[in-house]
Subunit: 159 residues, 2 copies
Amino acid sequence: MPNASDAFIDPAAMLAHWQGHRRLSRRVIDAFPADKLFSYSVGDMRPFGALAMEMLSMTVPMVRGIVNEKWDAFSTERESPSKQEVLRRWDESTRQLDELWPQIPPDRFHATMNAFGQYEGKVNELLLYCIDNEIHHRGQGYVYLRSLGIEPPPFYERE
Amino acid sequence: MPNASDAFIDPAAMLAHWQGHRRLSRRVIDAFPADKLFSYSVGDMRPFGALAMEMLSMTVPMVRGIVNEKWDAFSTERESPSKQEVLRRWDESTRQLDELWPQIPPDRFHATMNAFGQYEGKVNELLLYCIDNEIHHRGQGYVYLRSLGIEPPPFYERE
């Protein structure tokens, strides 16, 4: 267990950091022309809409599982809703994340869980995996946007 | 100041997490054909070699500045060394990071510093910015590799 001087970052600051990333990810979704979100990619990769749906399928289900110690089967959504619907679900998951995160008991971040019955790890590593996966795929979205001739939102802007 | 129950992650675990990412980033550098590292990109973006040089210019100089409270002028390297030289510098910075990180006084992660005399922020946020920037640009490298017909290393493999 960490002691008083052993925090790199505390849970509230980590949530704020993630929500900053999520605001940027929302802007990247919004930067895509609606007809390109689920149709355009580079190098035969998944289009950005599919990557955003993956982010949605991980974020709230992961945090809910950590809170409740009950896991739904993990499934990446295969549907391709409209851009407005993706943004609506994004905003909904933003609110849910803000509600769920403070319900994680502080000691749990250092416990080991088997997320979705298949990904075993320390809870803070499971959460970092979700955040890092979002940053990773969003970086891919930047390339898609640039190759469409669209300037992506600045990486450093998180408000 | 955080108290005992307030760690999302402690400094040693955060360093281990970053070094896991850095092992993956090294594999992405190594996956590029030597003649493509500084010549190939998509959408008029910087080639992956330039992004790797940016990562090198941030990682150790940031952590050294946090330790010493003295900042060199920040400069992104504009040279294009050979792939072997990039990998050699990467390994050197891996060793330096392992040496420097434990010298960060635990309370400093929650202090505010003006990195390189121009980026003011909490130290943990400054460090997360370096890590996130690496993940972001590495994700772009995945697209470059795929568009070259090369399968990138798996994102989840960090050993």
